[in-house]
Amino acid sequence: MKDRNHLFDVGISHTVNIIDKGTVDIPMLQILQPDGSAHSDADMPDISQDTAHKIFQTMHYIRVLDERMVGAQRQGRISFYLACSGEEASTVGSAAALSDNDMIMSQYREQGALAYRGYRTEQFMNQMFSNKLDPNKGRQMPIHYGDKALNFMTISSPLATQIPQAAGYAYGQKMAGNQAITICYFGEGAASEGDFHAGLNMAAVLSCPVIFFCRNNGYAISTPSSEQFCGDGIASRGLGYGIKTIRVDGNDVLAVYLATKKAREIALAENCPVLIEAMTYRLAAHSTSDDPSGYRSKEEEQKWREKDPVQRFENWMKSKGWINEEQHKQFIEQTRQEVLAQMKKAEQVDICAIDDLVNDVYDTPPWHLQEQLSQLKKHISLYPEAYPKTAGRIRHD
């Protein structure tokens, strides 16, 4: 540890020294070349065939899931969806480097991390169809997942609010003596919010074992990163807050895995935050309500398609002889069918009972909520045809 007064202990210069962004140059860790072959001098992560296979399958799984759910939104079966195409390596690679006890606090494009933890198709569907099996009880829009058993904190829509929370959660883990860290995902857009700056500073000063994982995917809805920040990306901000920082190729799953493994070791051993900036690209539209042709070119997208993280890893896996083509085809087909079947099933399930409108606002509904609920039930009984999803199931207590 440096002395608290370290800032006053600086070298002295007698000429004006201007430090600009060219002075600091943070390199990007890359292990796999775009064609999937490894750089000969690269630090190879120590990764078992089983882990590699699980990563590989999860990446394919969420690609199928995304494809199907975007389709389902177009058919009007769900109201909204957010795909993670192009960013599979960032979220799956990082999640694979964690322990199941580590807490995940995510933004909304991290279905890869959740799927890696073991979230089942059925669970994804119940949340998206806001039915009564949704752990959020049908209160949040599609893709706002959360699962206590899997240590995956329920997502909130206001951006960046999870960043200072992650610092606090990690501080609590440290105080409790848990051998666990927190990982906090966010986009480069969210890194402009005040909460980002507050969170990083708190984590650094209070020595919190947390990994801040920025998916720098080039866009925040229509705003390109060139209109989001100046300077050397998000990585240079970590340094500004005194946080150890790694920049990694977010389309290279082995590099992301290795970077996150290292970051976790450091966070745990030294009780400190680590910032990872994953350089990647949002191949998909921002969401199903967005049309990217209004703000970027097909050529630009094509350029990034050629750096497809899934294909890159597939090539590497093939070179190792770790893929069985026949089994892989079967897996994809099975996944497609499973998604369809679970979608149909989730669609059929009722929404929660009307009482869940007032439950969980507090630990128990106070008098005014009970009163409002009973008035509402009476009203619904007067006009059952106007409230078809709940009318048939009302009990008057």
Partner: protein, 325 residues
């Protein structure tokens, strides 16, 4: 006059204001080249250049803090907060700064030229973070105006008046009407007065009061009640702060009854303030208690949106209760 939807009317107001005064600047998340996620600022950057219409980084506190500085310098910022639900990161800048600039400096400095535009409200399957109606929070701070239009014609006239008003204005746009509400809008410049309610329809037995998208709801309920022989006076409040207590009181003195409808939760909602004032001013004229039809005191739900909404049926039932008291 030509037909426009509410987004086109807002766009037309912005073009009119920018044409009229080169100090007007429009900015916020995605408002530049793309024209905003709802397309309210379409073509402004192409027409007026990147210096006057631009994307900001994703920081609401930054947007409003920046706008406060700009306004205090004398420029005319029109800042967009992408969703009303995301105005809270900027809450401190609005409450402690925007609203108090003039007062704290003895009138030397002000943010009077600032207008903050934001879409708000539910009915669009947006769940708890894309449906809130936060007007009551802002009604509690002295120093700014809060304005809400109900249709495209009102939107253009009120937005132009807001931009030119010498006080900071929070202009809240009912997003469920953005494309749903279409009407005739003059292409030329016009303003509608701030702080003045609009009597949409005269009636005898009860006054129905709402703002924004809920005006349609009380109109629908009034139609049902008219069939039962109940004649309803309909008022669109249009400005939440300052609000037109005079027009509302006069109407209540005439009809003897008042029903207020808003989407936000009932407790501490703006209907409470109206009820208290009307009770003070019209006590002897009231023939039944003032009635509120509001959202429940819960966060805004998704699956139970229909049940949560203060819809026309709940309003209709409340009208009958009020008249038969």
């Amino acid at each position: 006059m030509i037909k426009m939807n509410m987004l086109q009317a807002i766009n037309s107001a912005l073009i009119t204001a920018m044409d009229d005064d080169e100090k007007v600047m429009v900015f916020g998340e995605d408002v530049g080249h793309f024209g905003g996620v709802f397309r309210a600022t379409s073509n402004l950057q192409q027409k007026f250049g990147k210096a006057r219409c631009f994307n900001t980084p994703l920081t609401e506190q930054g947007i409003i803090g920046f706008a406060n500085g700009l306004a205090s310098q004398g420029s005319v910022p029109v800042a967009e907060i992408q969703f009303g639900d995301y105005i809270f990161p900027a809450f401190d800048q609005i409450i402690n700064e925007t609203a108090k600039f003039r007062y704290r400096s003895g009138g030397q400095f002000t943010c009077g030229t600032l207008t903050i535009r934001t879409p708000y409200g539910g009915g669009i399957a947006g769940g708890l973070y894309h449906s809130q109606s936060p007007e009551a929070f802002f009604a509690h701070i002295p120093g700014m105006k809060v304005v809400i239009p109900r249709n495209p014609y009102q939107a253009k006239g009120l937005l132009l008046a807001s931009i030119r008003d010498d006080n900071p204005v929070l202009f809240m746009e009912p997003k469920r009407l953005y494309r749903a509400s279409v009407g005739e809008v003059p292409e030329e410049d016009y303003e509608l007065p701030l702080g003045k309610a609009d009597v949409v329809k005269e009636g005898e037995h009860i006054t129905l009061l709402a703002w924004g998208a809920q005006v349609e709801v009380i109109e629908k309920a009034a139609e049902m009640a008219e069939k039962d022989g109940i004649s309803c006076e309909i008022i669109d409040l249009r400005s939440i702060l300052p609000w037109d207590a005079q027009t509302v009181s006069e109407s209540v003195k005439k009809t003897g009854r008042l029903l207020i409808n808003h989407e936000a939760p009932q407790t501490g909602g703006f209907a409470s303030e109206i009820s208290a004032t009307v009770q003070e001013r019209c006590f002897l004229y009231l023939e039944s208690p003032i009635t509120r039809v509001c959202g429940l005191d819960t966060p805004y739900p998704l699956a139970h949106e229909k049940e949560y909404m203060p819809d026309h049926l709940k309003t209709y039932e409340a009208i009958k209760r009020c008249v038969n008291f």
